[in-house]
């Protein structure tokens, strides 16, 4: 459980440091049940920080995604640290980014926020449609409390939390420099029920399922852009020579796109669920990612983003690794 007042105090101290460029956290959004990323450049901006069940964004994506503008001649690049607020799942992204040497450990200040689950916009909007004004929320005992215009309303957490939170095994940050918390209890468990549903079908059924889903993809690339693990300087999806995947929006190319994306995340997906959250056409991308996560766990006993000293899956080899899939 996080003491938000204490958290703000830590944030204020952190932003005031000379070696910190800015802090990335969350603030209340402008309508509905939304929060928004909040870049705290100066101590007075700290007042707007929140940490509530609305803070679903994985802010780690900004660490690698930030555009680096050319540095004028005679000047030096700003090498100050970036401070970042992380939930449990977000911290796994930071860990894996460190494993992949995206930046040095000393170039980030990680502020840990143990998390009791964040709401799924789609679930909550279905429950309370047409909320024009912004609603705040807080955690109760196994419930989420919404401050609706009609008054405080408490709902069981299972009804409104995101799917990833219902199976979450890492609600507490795995890596943090500071934080004001008591660890929260792990109450989720993961049997990959969502993946098993799909595995139960035959290949034709699975193909029909995905063809249907991929057919609606509009190739907005929001899933790629929001992913904290997708940070290539020059993404193969954008490349023209060689052009691995054409830009045509049709089921064949869409399938190639989604399978490439999923494979590039095999053994790397830290299950923050951001891709699925931002998809405007509701493709169940986590089903695809989690199928690979399940394979990786079962075959190689590996979970990414737990240990900053671990080698990446693709770069580690054990003589007894399974290889029965090699023809």
């Amino acid at each position: 459980m996080v003491d938000v007042a204490k958290l703000k105090e830590i944030a204020r101290e952190t932003v005031s440091r000379d070696d910190v460029k800015y802090l990335i956290g969350w603030r209340q959004g402008t309508f509905g049940f939304r929060a928004a990323p909040h870049f705290v450049n100066k101590p007075e901006d700290v007042d707007q920080l929140i940490f509530s069940p609305l803070c679903s964004h994985n802010l780690a994506t900004y660490l690698t995604g930030v555009e680096k503008l050319p540095v004028p001649r005679g000047q030096e690049a700003d090498s100050r640290k970036v401070a970042l607020m992380v939930k449990g799942c977000d911290s796994r992204a930071v860990v894996l980014q460190l494993v992949e040497q995206g930046y040095g450990r000393d170039s980030v200040v990680v502020i840990g926020c143990p998390c009791q689950g964040v709401v799924d916009q789609k679930k909550v909007e279905a429950k309370y449609p047409d909320m024009g004004e912004n609603i705040t929320a807080e955690w109760g005992e196994k419930t989420i409390i919404f401050n609706l215009p009609s008054g405080k309303t408490e709902v069981p957490r299972e009804e409104v939390l995101a799917g990833k939170c219902l199976t979450c095994r890492y609600p507490n940050p795995l890596l943090a420099d500071a934080g004001a918390w008591e660890e929260v209890a792990v109450w989720g468990s993961d049997d990959y029920a969502d993946v098993q549903d799909l595995e139960a079908g035959n290949p034709q059924e699975r193909r029909a399922f995905w063809e249907d889903k991929f057919a609606s993809c509009i190739r907005c690339y929001a899933c790629r852009n929001v992913c904290p693990m997708c940070y290539c300087e020059d993404c193969i999806l954008d490349r023209l020579n060689p052009q691995w995947i054409t830009r045509a929006v049709n089921p064949t190319e869409n399938t190639a796109f989604h399978l490439s994306r999923a494979f590039h995340l095999a053994g790397r997906c830290i299950e923050c669920g951001e891709c699925e959250r931002v998809c405007p056409v509701d493709i169940p991308l986590m089903k695809l990612n989690r199928k690979l996560t399940k394979e990786v766990r079962e075959n190689y006993d590996y979970e990414p983003g737990l240990d900053p000293e671990a080698k990446p899956l693709q770069a580690s080899y054990r003589p007894n690794d399974k290889e029965d899939f090699i023809l």
């Binding site: 680096k68 503008l69 050319p70 540095v71 004028p72 001649r73 000047q75 030096e76 690049a77 090498s79 992949e100 040497q101 995206g102 940070y231 290539c232 300087e233 020059d234 993404c235 193969i236 490349r239 020579n241 060689p242 590039h264 080698k311 990446p312 693709q314 770069a315 580690s316």
Partner: protein, 665 residues
């Protein structure tokens, strides 16, 4: 030069290897219609001189600038045809092989379908040939020196050969003396030469050779670099004795308070030594060493009023302040001759090695019969007044060899013959001895081995075929329980002594060298050679060679032969002074590299590092390939997410058109 592709396609019949399943004429006709193809020819054996001449003449007369040879696997003849191109003045990397033998004619029966497939393979090769780029093999200088790790007979022999050829050798030995396992042996089979008599002259030679720098009691800590240019770091462990002052007189050892208290490693812990010691009388260098784990002064800070060795040493050589030193030097080649460990007989508990003092291993028995051993060469059990001479002696072969239950499926290759030799020595030293040897098979395969085996049988040694199941004690005797499998008779053989012919195993510290040199291990856990037949002393790392039992069990003649082979392989590099490095190496596009380091982790040759690059004033990490280390295996290219690291001659822009033509046929 006008680089518009002019491609020549050469289709090989390979006798009938290809032509019996592939319609050569149809492939030729098809190839002649492909874009940019100027000449198409077929020939019975393209790799023959007349076949190669066809290519040369076309390059010269027709002005071909790309060549496709449709024949066998590039592993067979790519280098042949590369030379053909070079001889005609064309860059040899303008060659593309289309494998229509291993990947087509040999694996198909239907001629029509095989022909269709051959056409596709040739078409794909032509598509790629258009996009080939010239590559140039670079040369690097070779540092004219060699590091030899391990100074057993293999290391000594390799060092001597290289030193005699006029090159510098750094010979590093972990223990205080050179000599290795061979120095522990009494006689050598099958000629019964005295082991020390043939070894010690070489030990002295190698220590005194002007080109050899002997680093005894030292350990290799780190090796970086690549063929021709290895940087070596060696830790010279503190002996606590100034080797320049020590005369090797041995008074210190006589005076040591722990004299005759510490089991001697050289005598397989049967004899005793002092804390300051010379491992064996002929040790080279003949300098004393203080055992830092046993010495009272070093372990407790106190040895009587003052250490007796210090008082005894008239040369003032003892220096308890001495510290480890680090030696750093450069070499061009490395020879790994780190030897073996003997199998730990305690891992076969049914033989009672841990329980009964009169069950000994072959190497222990070797010390027992040796004149320099704990008993002065007398075969006796027990000490002082209890000493008895064993009359009934049983040998058991294949202990820890050819035995999947202990994880060693291989034959150790020396036990059959050393057993015969030891049995012969018993007959010589114990009149009236009754010796039997329990065996699975007798492998007397070497020069003079079968004759020696015959000789010992004629001396009255009995060979009984059977693998004992158990050894237990009955009264004063040991009972060997076994079935004679030739007569199907169960036996309970009562003996005074059992000698276990233990096999050879990879050294327990084999991992250290693997980590330093990135060597591989074969299934038997010994170091892996580059090719079991054609490159038996080479390793996957260029410039690193193997000698002796580090690569697998072998006897002394084979060890010496391999050491000489490793030395001559090293000398090839040292004498030429230059080494050509791979041209088809990986290249990094540092502007798109995301610096995740997967390629660094994956590279089996340690050829990739992350370096800091400047992107418009912003510093970022990007991969960089060390051209001399890269072997062009392509593992990094497969691992790269953004396609930023690729292998020359196998770039995406070259391979994708190759795949594309297959799709549109």
């Amino acid at each position: 030069m006008n680089n518009k592709p002019k491609i020549g396609v050469y289709v090989c019949h390979c006798g009938v290897n290809i032509s019996k399943t592939v319609d050569i004429d149809a492939v030729v006709e098809f190839a002649s219609r492909m874009p940019n193809v100027k000449v198409v020819r077929d020939y019975a054996y393209m790799c023959s001189d007349p076949g190669q001449l066809l290519i040369r003449e076309d390059i010269e007369k027709e002005g071909l600038n790309r060549v496709v040879v449709a024949s066998c696997s590039p592993r067979m003849h790519e280098s042949t045809f590369r030379k053909t191109l070079a001889a005609a003045g064309l860059n040899s990397y303008y060659l593309e092989m289309a494998n229509i033998r291993e990947q087509c004619s040999w694996v198909h029966e239907d001629k029509e379908e095989a022909t269709a497939k051959a056409k596709k393979i040739v078409y794909a090769a032509v598509a790629k040939a258009r996009l080939l780029e010239p590559l140039y093999e670079k040369e690097v200088d070779v540092e004219p020196a060699t590091l030899v790790i391990g100074a057993g007979i293999a290391g000594i022999q390799a060092a001597l050969d290289i030193a005699n050829a006029g090159f510098k050798v750094y010979l590093v030995e972990k223990t205080p003396s050179v000599g290795g396992r061979m120095s522990q042996l009494d006689k050598t089979f099958p000629t019964l030469d005295c082991s020390a008599c043939i070894l010690t002259p070489k030990m002295v030679d190698v220590a005194n050779h002007p080109n050899v720098e002997l680093l005894a009691y030292s350990q290799v800590e780190d090796i970086t670099g690549y063929v021709g240019n290895f940087d070596v770091k060696v830790r010279k462990k503190a002996r606590y004795v100034d080797v320049n002052k020590c005369t090797g007189c041995g008074v210190c050892s006589e005076e040591c308070r722990l004299k005759n208290r510490i089991p001697s490693e050289f005598n397989m812990e049967m004899g005793k030594r002092a804390a300051i010691y010379l491992p064996f009388p002929q040790a080279v260098p003949a300098k004393y060493t203080i055992d830092p784990e046993r010495c009272l002064f070093l372990t407790r800070g106190k040895c009587g009023k003052s250490p007796k060795c210090v008082d005894a040493c008239s040369a003032g050589a003892i220096n308890f302040e001495q510290e480890d030193e680090i030696a750093e030097f450069k070499v061009g080649t490395v020879i790994v001759a780190t030897g073996f460990d003997v199998f730990d007989a305690a891992r076969k508990p049914e033989y009672g090695y841990s329980d009964y003092p009169n069950v000994v291993t072959g190497l222990e028995f070797e010390r027992l019969v040796s004149a320099s051993g704990p008993t002065g060469g007398a075969v006796v059990l027990g000490e002082g007044e209890d000493a008895v001479v064993p009359k009934d002696i049983a040998f058991i072969k294949c202990v820890g060899s050819r035995d999947a239950s202990v994880g060693n499926e291989y034959c150790s290759r020396v036990c059959c013959m050393y057993t015969a030799k030891l049995a012969h020595l018993v007959m010589e030293k114990v009149p009236g001895a009754n010796v039997r040897i329990y065996y699975m098979d007798v492998r007397a395969f070497g020069k003079g081995f079968e004759e020696f085996y015959d000789r010992v049988r004629r001396e009255g040694i009995r060979y009984i075929r059977g693998n004992p199941s158990e050894i237990f004690k009955r009264g004063e005797k040991l009972v060997v329980k076994v079935e004679d499998t030739l007569t199907a008779t169960p036996l309970e053989d009562e003996v005074d002594m059992v000698v276990l012919a233990v096999g050879l195993e990879p050294r327990k510290d084999a991992r250290e060298i693997i980590d330093i040199l990135r060597l591989s291990q074969s299934g038997d856990r010994f170091y892996l050679e580059a090719h079991p037949k054609l490159a038996p002393v080479d390793t996957a790392t260029d410039g690193v060679f193997l000698a002796g039992c580090a690569q697998g069990p072998k006897d002394i003649p084979d060890t010496v032969a391999q050491a000489k082979g490793a030395a001559s392989s090293a000398l090839v590099l040292l004498a030429s002074g230059k080494v050509k490095i791979q041209a088809q190496i990986s290249v990094v596009d540092q502007s798109t590299c995301r610096g995740c380091g997967y390629c660094v982790e994956i590279c089996p040759y340690g050829a990739i590092d992350l370096v800091t690059v400047n992107r418009m004033g912003n510093l970022a990490q990007a991969a960089e390939v060390n051209e001399a280390l890269c072997k062009g295996c392509g593992a990094c290219a497969a691992a790269c997410f953004s396609g930023s690291i690729q292998q020359k001659s196998f770039m995406d822009r070259q391979i994708l058109p190759q795949i594309a033509v297959l799709g549109v046929m």
